[in-house]
């Protein structure tokens, strides 16, 4: 982790405030435009993460990537989410996550989808694999799933 950015309050702020910012943006811009912006921001963050590790275009296995992401984004990292595992199913890459920031504080049955969180995983995968991917949030803890699952397929 980098140096503490705030001396008294530390580097973490409440999910409540972050959610309020997202809801405000959705109110002003609409859900879709806001989701595009947040996913794009997440992808950029994911790519930067891999760059800081010096692992772009590397032959890192998906298991190793899962461990790296779990460390960077999980309990010991920025606390964005817990990356449980990354597996391939046919041509798809599935990333299993839990306690995602995007789903936190939502009511069960909410239709909210992960945007920033999925984007971070997405960007890191694209940077590692050096391939363009298309990502979809396929299972949600808000809609009966055990995990928030992001599924990625090759775009071209």
């Amino acid at each position: 982790m980098p140096n503490v950015l705030r001396q008294k309050l530390g580097d973490f702020n409440s999910i409540l405030c972050f959610k309020a910012a997202i809801l405000g943006m959705e109110e002003a811009l609409g859900d879709k435009a806001c989701a595009i912006a947040l996913t794009t921001a997440g992808r950029a963050r994911g790519k930067k993460l891999v760059e800081t590790w010096g692992l772009d275009n590397s032959s890192l296995s998906l298991d190793d990537l899962a461990s790296k992401l779990a460390l960077a984004l999980g309990q010991e990292g920025t606390k964005l989410c817990i990356v449980e595992k990354i597996v391939t199913e046919g041509e798809a890459i599935k990333v299993y996550t839990s306690e995602t920031l995007c789903s936190a504080g939502e009511l069960l049955g909410s239709q909210r989808k992960c945007t920033f969180t999925m984007g971070v995983v997405w960007g890191s995968l694209e940077k590692i694999l050096n391939k363009r991917l298309r990502g979809v949030h396929t299972e949600s803890v808000l809609r009966g799933g055990n995990h928030d699952v992001f599924e990625f397929t090759h775009l071209d």
Binding site: G30, A33, I36, R43, R134, D156
Partner: protein
Amino acid sequence: MAINTEKLSMILQHFVTATTDVQGAALVTPDGLPLGASLPSGMDEERVSAMSASMLSLGERIGIELARGSVDRIFVEGNKGFGILTGCGEDAVLLVLASETAKQGLLMLEIKRVLAELKLVLM
């Protein structure tokens, strides 16, 4: 099924080089991913794609919230030229950048023509 992004890029490249006053074009998914692009140097494809999809989505919201109906295109006119966003079926959005000297009628015709060509590849 995978999209033939190479072919899409070729069509866009040809459109940009063969059409007077057109300076760049990009085809992006509604969620902001680049499918193909031929853009002026210095423009980041990823950023342009996200911006285009957000803009179209915002335009659609304006259409609904301000009772303007469904959006056919979004037209940005600046003192250095035009930026035109047009839906390309359900799965893509076309951005065209043209210089300030472009004749709007001709430009719209050319956009209509290239849209038909792109839709065939996306089908």
